[in-house]
Amino acid sequence: MGTSRASARSVVFAPLDPHSRAETVVRRLTDAITFGLLTDAEQLPSETDLAAQFGVSRVTVREALVALRQQNLVETRRGRGGGSFVRAPTAAADRSLRSRLSELSLPNLRDTADHYAAVAGAAARLAAQRADADDILRIEEVDADVAGPLHRMERAYHLEVAAVAQSARLAREEIRFAGELGTLLWSPILQTADSTYDPHAEHRAITAAIAAGDGDLARRLTEEHIETAVERLVTLHLTLVEP
């Protein structure tokens, strides 16, 4: 464990290729914080040291730290004993996320995600067959209403689609998957890693297909919606476990 953590840590601070920018620094540090390679309250190396280790300019490092501060992942204190400190997401959430990430095995993740895509895709297809105008309004309302973290919004959206599919079993599966996979699959970390990601736009497209009664399209869009999230998670995982 100790050596793998040490080698994983050296990956975190490995030199970047010359084309990388602040964004890459942000991503690598964000990943490290989420995956627990950098722990809460841990002090980061100085800007000069970070710049040297990443092989980027101090300006780039500073830019990255600003972004990390905005995401509340880093806190900068001034004066004596000052510097940049890791602020892991809230302790409880962080602990559970970390312990689950440590148990993550790619074959299991793939299998769980395949099962989930089958459930959510089938729910979307049936919803397209069985929805009336009021049901579409309910789905849209849920998608617009739910505040808070993305995984909560995803849970509410797909649960409502399963309810509109008139399937208690698929709804129960949605509830189960939301607990098992949701916080991981829709972790904010995946979104910060991809600025083009817009789950609401994906939901709107699925809802439109359901409203149009196009079950095949609704199913395909839902499967893609989940597959894309899984791909992001797997890519992140692979980046971090690279020797």
């Binding site: 008139q166 709804a171 509830i175």
Partner: protein
């Protein structure tokens, strides 16, 4: 046109009405008990526990869930005394009422709560996937609970659609021709053919319009509509 409704169809509509009115009677009994709590001023949420014997007694037969859910009471918390299951194996419903939680249930959004609140009248919700309570396909019969004329919550009873269908089966079979029990939105509760399974939606525009008027009608194609009393349910028969 001018066809008469067969006595079997009338009998089916009457059977539906009897079952639904029995569920409403359960809900109404709990409503009276709940309103009694308000006579001496607004109770606290914990005071609803005195309803427990009546709520648990309501379970059994077709009733698979029953209870009372109120607006926030004297202590600022909503009252919740709702039980699920059978008399032999029952469990108390707990709802996550913390808006910051992942599994938060916004009761005010649920039709079984919002319709009695907004109309002041009783309501049949469903058939619908009840993911808040039993995670089952259900019909929920709710009536408003009032505190000196002001809405104070709902009392209700749940019936699983599968149980309802079983109870209607002899009357459905007796009709002979294709028949379906639907709600005013055209959602099938129970049917006698593979085309009209529970949960499917009648999309025929003539039928959908007629369902909203809730009057007996003979529609194009010989489809006949028989309302079930004053309930938002109707029997459709095809020739």
């Amino acid at each position: 046109m001018g066809q008469t409704i067969t006595s079997e169809t009338t009998a089916l509509a009457a059977r539906v009405t009897t079952l639904a009115e029995a569920a409403f009677a359960t809900a109404d009994g709990l409503r009276r008990r709940a309103e009694d709590l308000f006579t001496g001023g607004r109770p606290a949420s914990a005071d609803l526990a005195v309803l427990r014997p009546w709520v648990t007694e309501a379970l059994g037969g077709l009733i698979n869930g029953a209870g009372v859910i109120t607006v926030p009471l004297a202590d600022g918390r909503p009252g919740l005394e709702w039980w699920m299951g059978s008399p032999a194996q029952r469990s108390r419903l707990t709802l996550d009422l913390d808006p910051a939680s992942d599994t938060f249930v916004d009761v005010g959004r649920q039709p079984w709560y919002s319709v009695p609140r907004d109309t002041g009248r009783r309501h049949v919700t469903g058939p619908y996937v009840d993911y808040v309570c039993a995670e089952q396909y259900a019909l929920t019969f709710t009536v408003p609970v009032t505190d000196h004329g002001t809405f104070a919550g709902i009392a209700g009873a749940d019936v699983f659609v599968g149980d309802f269908e079983r109870a209607l089966r002899p009357a459905l079979r007796a009709v002979g021709t294709p028949v379906a029990l639907v709600n005013t939105h055209g959602r099938v509760v129970a049917g006698s053919t593979a085309h009209h399974l529970a949960g499917s939606l009648i999309r025929d525009a003539h039928i959908r319009t007629a369902l909203l008027t809730a009057l007996p009608a003979v529609l194009p194609g010989g489809v006949r509509l028989t309302p079930c009393g004053t309930l938002p349910l109707a029997v459709l028969t095809w020739p």
